[in-house]
Symmetry: C2
Subunit: 201 residues, 2 copies
């Protein structure tokens, strides 16, 4: 059986749990408390030298890291990966956008709130707030013309971007000016097999 | 003909130029001076709302952004993309590692040197230096057991990580403790069709 090392509040972990559930693939969940440093222990660094969750362990013990690479692995051959070469690249475009232009601002501000370290990091907050708002504006503009991020169908790109966007308010982001993003969140929530971030398998 | 909007000193742009050359695919290059704000003009934002280079424009005018998504698009069906499902996911794992745990530190310090803004950003330098060194250590450990990043062959994962690693010293990073990384840089440089970062097509 697949084994997932993850943290329940992590959007990156949630991406994988959500897709596994929508694929109907059973898995064993191993909780790793990143706030207690459990992803940086010697034992965990043996599994992932980069010290991050989620980590998917395959049946032969091979470990696969990076949430969006895990999504790709799980989705190959399914309807969650677009069928055309161009649309596959567009899905990756949005997944790299998520990790470079979205997660470092929107997820990190939420983590700072949760971990109670917002005050300690206050000098960095305004830039993170501004860049996160820029990412949401780019998404809103794209979703004004598209029901989902790539082509006409729900894909791994939507899963990757949903994970932290739907909890952006927990980091202080206000989505009230981004109606297209809010409507898309509803469309994602309405997909068969959708589960909330606290779903633990 | 493919059209590439890029900046000669950008490692992200170089990834695409290097693969296009190794594939033998002709392209037209459009220089965008990011230091003069040319990637944030209204005209460029029409092409890429996220305001970043490289941007690949296909023959029908479709724009594709995010360097590693462009690599994936160009490499599909070639030997630069691994043949197995697991190895494709491992290639993406390293490409997401590059954009999340490597480029924001190693590329950004180099850019600050080049743009003359290191002093203005000096409060952020120690953390960027430390995290960049962590990324290089993760790479060195992996390359102690592998000739290339995925399986036994040169792939898009090597191109993605080579781009900013081979110029890391321009951002003040010292590779002398990372012999495995240095040996891998030599193996990448020895590949057929290799061109330097200043190669402009």
């Amino acid at each position: 059986m697949l084994r997932l090392y993850d943290y329940l509040e992590s959007g990156n972990s949630y991406k994988v749990r959500l897709l596994l559930h929508q694929l109907g693939v059973p898995f064993e969940r191993v909780a790793v408390d990143i706030l207690k440093g459990e992803s940086r222990t010697q034992a965990f660094l043996q599994r992932n030298p980069n010290g991050r969750i989620p980590l998917l362990e395959l049946e032969d013990g091979t470990g696969l890291a990076e949430s969006n690479a895990i999504l790709w692995y799980l989705a190959e051959g399914s309807a969650f990966l677009p069928a055309s070469r161009l649309q596959r690249a567009q899905a990756l475009q949005w997944m790299f956008f998520e990790q470079y232009s979205h997660e470092p601002y929107i997820a990190v501000l939420r983590l700072w709130h949760h971990a109670g370290v917002l005050e300690r990091n206050r000098a960095a907050v305004p830039e993170k707030r501004e860049r996160g708002m820029q990412a949401l504006a780019v998404m809103d503009r794209h979703l004004a013309e598209q029901r989902f991020f790539v082509g006409d169908g729900y894909s791994v790109a939507d899963i990757a971007l949903y994970a932290y966007t739907h909890v952006a308010h927990e980091g202080g982001f206000d989505l009230s000016d981004h109606r297209c993003v809010r409507d898309w969140l509803e469309r994602v929530r309405a997909r068969p097999g959708h589960v909330p971030i606290t779903y633990a398998a």
